[in-house]
């Protein structure tokens, strides 16, 4: 834990990303505010379409038109990201904030050797002065992420590696500049379970060694439980619950979080009958002015037909549900 007076590494306020759809503008990220502390691992949980990936692509400036990104405040390491030009933004992206994508095979360039891909980012950001220096650093990085015979494999192409190894190479490219914040977008989803465990272990180790902050974006609560200090649950573009990981898992406040937990197959709860959330998440588009989980919530009532704000209710936890009043929970 960091001291209470240390400013967070990343602080975002009122982030909104809008895409036009046939039905009208869709707020795929809707007034999202959060922070990531130094050295912390924040788990971002949600199902497909919840806006969890777009939130971080928006922060990095990777949302292309017709998508529109706006925010009240976006501070990274004391710098106001909103005030930066594209050039300055680019200097931060890849160097101070790095992202790994879910599908390593698509994210890596199949026509370039891994050496080119790892060294490119170091040379572009001035973290290496020469090809030789960059290559040496790339070998070091590949060793760090656990690729056997790293020096011999530097000139191989992505397709020559297995799925788990490709994910490691992508992590190596992301870590090449020793970023202060690593955004890992579904780093294990495409991988087999035994390989998943290896990659998660690797991220945890690197976090300790390099003192990075990590944002772990995933649909898998099981992954988050093991790794995250805090979690943030997203639904239909909004944060619906946020708090310390243990507290949220043990005693979910929002019915959606509780439903996700009840849906998740886990070896601890085999005796409990399956209790799925009914229906499906709303498609992106204009939303009615009511709780977005309304149609699927078993506890919904007429009182829920208002825009529900995200409110704090107990020590450091917030949730977006009218049934919660300050100090009412836990």
């Amino acid at each position: 834990m960091t001291g209470p007076f240390l400013p967070p590494l990343l602080a975002v306020e009122g982030l909104t990303t809008i895409f036009p759809t046939r039905a009208g503008p869709a707020r795929v990220v809707d007034d999202v505010s959060f922070h990531v502390n130094e050295g912390e691992c924040l788990g971002v949980v949600g199902e497909s379409g919840s806006g969890k990936s777009i939130t971080f692509l928006s922060i990095l400036g990777l949302v292309r038109p017709p998508g529109r990104v706006s925010a009240k405040r976006m501070i990274f390491a004391g710098k106001d990201l909103l005030a930066l030009g594209e050039g300055e933004r680019r200097a931060i992206r890849g160097r101070d904030i790095a992202i790994t994508m879910q599908d390593a095979l698509t994210a890596l360039n199949p026509a370039l050797t891994v050496a080119t891909q790892i060294t490119e980012v170091m040379l572009a950001h001035g973290r290496a002065r020469s090809q030789e220096e960059a290559r040496a650093a790339a070998i070091e990085m590949m060793r760090l992420v656990g690729i056997p015979a790293a020096a011999n494999r530097l000139d191989d192409y992505p397709h020559q590696f297995s799925g788990g190894m490709r994910q490691r190479i992508m992590i190596a490219t992301a870590l090449a500049c020793r970023p202060r914040l690593l955004i890992a977008d579904e780093p294990t989803t495409a991988l087999d379970v035994t390989i998943q465990a290896q990659v998660l272990e690797l991220i945890a180790e690197l976090r300790r060694e390099l003192r990075m902050s990590v944002v772990l974006i995933t649909h898998d609560l099981g992954v988050v439980v093991e790794q995250a200090d805090r979690i943030m649950v997203m639904y239909a573009g909004q944060i619906v619950e946020e708090g310390a990981c243990r507290a949220v898992i043990e005693d979910a406040a929002h019915p959606y979080t509780a439903g996700l937990l009840a849906s998740m197959p886990s070896l601890d709860t085999l005796d409990r009958p399956i209790h799925p959330i009914r229906g499906q998440a709303p498609l992106p588009g204009p939303m009615p002015a009511q709780c977005r989980f309304f149609d699927r919530c078993e506890q919904a009532s007429e009182a829920c037909r208002i825009e529900v704000p995200l409110r704090p209710f107990t020590d450091g936890r917030t949730a977006r549900c009218i049934r919660l009043k300050e100090g009412s929970h836990g």
Binding site: E201, L221, V225, P265, S266
Partner: protein, 332 residues
């Protein structure tokens, strides 16, 4: 026991694929390489039972499921369904069995013809196997859709108009409309969001209870299999390394690979770090599997014998079998 015959009995089933040679390899007369996807696999599934089949990608679990259904021709061994040997049957003679043995595929995006309406997709098995007219088939489809949580208003729509979970419901309707006895569920929930996964698992469980369906449920996720299966078989590089009642596999796993899978399975309670031992290394290439026990290259407790001699099968009692030298398996 009332159950005289198992519904499905698989004996020493083997399936090889031959890697196609490149023109260069052909010119240089490189000998053909054969991938042994399923090697000498035996198991039974009782009527009304769900056997969970678990393993990582490339272990041969989907090939096994398809070979059992005669979608791949077996290269050795036998599959007997309801007392009849079906693996060597010509396609025409197999037809009546095909309607009793169905499959639900993993990818609801790839397994539905995008140019056919739901009425056509779900009605097609009725047309093929019962010789129904297009109109009769559509009526049957209309009757059946509500049972998978869809409605008749969906009949005229096309697959792209549905979400992943709804598409999987269409796939389930297509597999179950003929009221089969046996269904291979090949990773039916892996492509779906967590909340939708639970809905589909619940639906499959309901059908099993109502119709006494027998499932071979293939998954890479031990927690999903633990939910739905009565017994579990664990597959590694083309072979079943452990099989037994669910509780025995989950509570007293005998094979080091099963233990490793359990150690990395998702849980909500955080375990002490020491318990989470990740397996080292990747799955070896099935084109060139290790000698001896196929798991020995990744096994944390391998002994010298494991590298040279393939373990035989040890009976641990109560239907629990394991192929591992740790349990005194005699060589085979």
């Amino acid at each position: 026991m009332a159950e005289l015959l198992p519904l499905l009995a698989v004996r020493a089933l083997t399936k090889h694929f031959t890697k196609r040679k490149s023109p260069v390899e052909w010119l240089m007369r490189v000998p053909p390489v054969s991938l042994k996807a399923v090697v000498d696999v035996s198991f039974e599934v009782a009527r009304g039972e769900t056997l969970g089949l678990i393993g990582e990608s490339g272990c041969g679990k989907s090939t096994l499921g398809r070979t059992v259904l005669n979608l791949h021709r077996a290269d050795g061994g036998s599959v007997s369904f309801d007392g009849t040997e079906i693996s060597a049957m010509p396609e025409a003679a197999f037809r009546p069995y095909r309607r009793r043995m169905q499959i639900i595929f993993q990818d609801p995006y790839a397994s539905l013809n995008p140019r056919r309406s739901v009425a056509e997709i779900v009605g097609l098995p009725v047309r093929i196997h019962e010789g129904a007219s297009a109109r009769q088939a559509e009526e049957r489809a209309a009757e059946f859709l509500p049972r998978v949580g869809l409605s008749t208003e969906h009949l005229r729509r096309y697959p792209h108009q549905f979400s992943g979970g709804q598409r999987q419901r269409i796939g389930i309707a297509r597999a179950l409309i003929l009221n089969p006895d046996f269904v291979v569920c090949d990773e039916p929930v892996s492509a779906l969001d967590v909340s939708i996964q639970a809905q589909i698992l619940e639906l499959l469980t309901e059908f099993r209870q109502q119709r006494g369906l027998t499932y071979l449920f293939i998954s890479h996720d031990l927690a999903v299999v633990g939910r739905i299966a009565d017994r579990i078989a664990v597959m590694y590089l083309g072979q079943i390394v452990e099989i037994g009642p669910k509780q025995a596999i989950l509570d007293q796993p005998a094979h080091p690979y099963t233990r490793a899978l359990l150690a990395v399975a998702p849980r909500l309670k955080r375990r002490p770090g020491s318990e989470r031992v990740a397996l080292k290394g990747d799955l070896p290439s099935p084109l060139n599997p290790p000698n001896g026990c196929r798991f020995h290259t990744r096994c944390p407790v391998a002994k010298p014998i494991c590298a040279t001699l393939a373990p035989g099968i040890t009976d641990l009692g109560a239907g629990h079998h394991v192929a591992c030298h740790l349990h005194g398996g005699a060589g085979s």
